[in-house]
Amino acid sequence: MKAEEHLLEVKGLRKHFSDQKDGPILKAVDGVNFHVERGETLGIVGESGSGKSTIAKMIMQLEKPTEGEILFHGKNITSLTNAAKRKLQIIFQDPYGSLNPRMKAKDIVTEPFFIHEKMPKRERYEQALKLLQEVGLDKEHLNRYPHQFSGGQRQRLSIARAIALKPDLIVCDEAVSALDVSLQAQILHLLSSLQKTYGIAYIFIAHGLPAVRLISDRIAIMYKGEIVETGTRDEIFENPQHDYTKSLLAAVPPSHPRLREDG
């Protein structure tokens, strides 16, 4: 198989932190391999401290790996041109922190365009409107500031910005975890319909199995910096192999009181 066949490929990725020079080393990510294909969703599940968010940061080049490489379209991400970088986007957990409180919605969603080149006002307006409508927002929202949106709307805004450049891959780092359940469902739906329309691939990082199950084609289970199990959705849920996967599944609360462990 040629390297280009994977949209994103992660090889032997490690990230070790240490507070002081001779201090203890924290192995946040310790030898991780995975790949993502075009148009698919890879779920990464792990509890707090498992290293899943560190992986997201390394993919986005917000952290430097201690070891290993990340290939996007077959090229090492450190060698990507700005144009190629645009095809890689991220959505964060906290929609409030990821929106500049002093920018209006229209400027936020079109920011990816005008960072590098000037854009006529009129065109920017049209682009902004199109993007907002695509995520279920409207004209009236164009001139609002982030604090004037509700939590779910803010996450829609983040999504609008992420899809502005028609990316090939979006890393969703706990993108729905901070939302109420009914909003989670809506955002998941939005993500999956955008995937159908544009063929975007997702890396969907979450700590909860149920949400990951709804949207992922394949799932990787992380534990203490390592991927302990990878498989298709059905493999993971129907036939988990690793003990940790099993215990995660067992810890998910029942969907009906009839299914309580203690009856």
Binding site: G97, N100, M103, S150, Q153
Partner: protein
């Protein structure tokens, strides 16, 4: 009037942006500034005119006072009210211009240190800041006065050049925290150039707390100036300063309390008013208080 008429809207806007203290503060500051600008045309008497026959006249409401000299006269017979109006000029000039100097230096170095947080540039700058902050501002200014002749320009430059570290420290801290925010990281992942990140994301989120502190910095500079003038090391006579007037009056405190009392009040009121304006800026500049609150799903 309809709820959406432009007048109602404007009115509501003003009301939302105005705290009572902010309003009092800005009106007071405006009055003080106007008095200072138009001092030569307003003053009831020549503030420099010495008249031995009119020494130590008390304010008009005290026995022996007269409405000719509303706030009385000093030990050489000069009209206190007129001198107060003139004294505001020095205080405001020093306050404003020294903060422009220290603010610009502080803001730029703060941006630099914060943006390059953790690098040697940051470390060196912060050690310099620590060292300067370890010396009382007043002492630093005093020493610098020895080097340069006391006077208005010296005062402005010296206060300006010694009080920037507080802004650097503040701005650096804010930049460090804004830099961690995800929207900056996002722009960074898009390959945004440094100038863009600073201009578009960092500066707008730092500038409001900077303006608040710089405004209050004007008040501190006025206090420093008045202390120096009080010690006789500020702007020199015959130029009039509130601190200098206070110094004149302290020896007469037992007999003619008004000489030292009114300049002190003038300083206090000016500093208070500027502080109120600064606090008011804090609210006005917060984007979360702009145009309504939370949206609905």
């Amino acid at each position: 009037m309809s709820k959406n008429s432009p007048i109602t809207k404007t009115f509501t806007k003003i009301r939302n942006f105005t705290s009572p203290l902010g309003l009092i503060g800005s009106i007071t500051v405006t009055i003080i500034v106007l008095l200072a600008i138009f001092a030569p045309w307003i003053v009831p008497h020549d503030p420099f005119a010495i008249d031995a026959t009119k020494r130590l006249i008390p304010p008009f409401w005290v026995d022996g006072g007269s409405t000719t000299y509303l706030l009385g006269t000093d030990h050489v017979g000069r009209d206190i009210l007129s001198r107060l109006i003139y004294g505001g000029r020095v205080s405001l000039l020093v306050g404003l211009f020294s903060v422009i100097i220290s603010g610009v230096i502080g803001l730029l170095l703060g941006l630099l240190a914060g943006y390059l947080g953790g690098t040697w540039v940051d470390h060196v700058l912060m050690r310099v800041v620590d060292a300067i902050l370890a010396i009382p501002t007043l002492l630093l200014v005093l020493v610098a006065i020895v080097v340069f002749e006391p006077g208005l320009i010296t005062l402005i430059v010296v206060i300006g050049l010694t009080s920037w570290p507080q802004y650097t420290r503040l701005v650096r801290g804010e930049v460090l925290s804004v830099k961690q925010r995800e929207f900056v990281q996002l722009a960074y992942t898009l390959g945004a150039p440094h100038t863009y990140l600073i201009r578009r994301h960092i500066l707008p989120n730092v500038v409001s707390s900077f303006i608040v502190v710089a405004t209050i910095g004007i008040a501190s500079a006025i206090l420093t100036e008045s202390s120096l003038s009080f010690l006789g090391l500020g702007v020199q006579p015959p130029d009039i300063t509130w601190g200098g007037m206070l110094n004149d009056g302290r020896n007469y405190i037992a007999t003619s309390w008004w000489i030292a009392t009114f300049p002190g009040l003038a300083i206090t009121i000016t500093v208070l008013a500027i502080t109120f304006v600064g606090d008011w800026f804090r609210d006005v500049l917060d984007p979360r208080l702009k145009q309504g609150g939370e949206g609905n799903e």
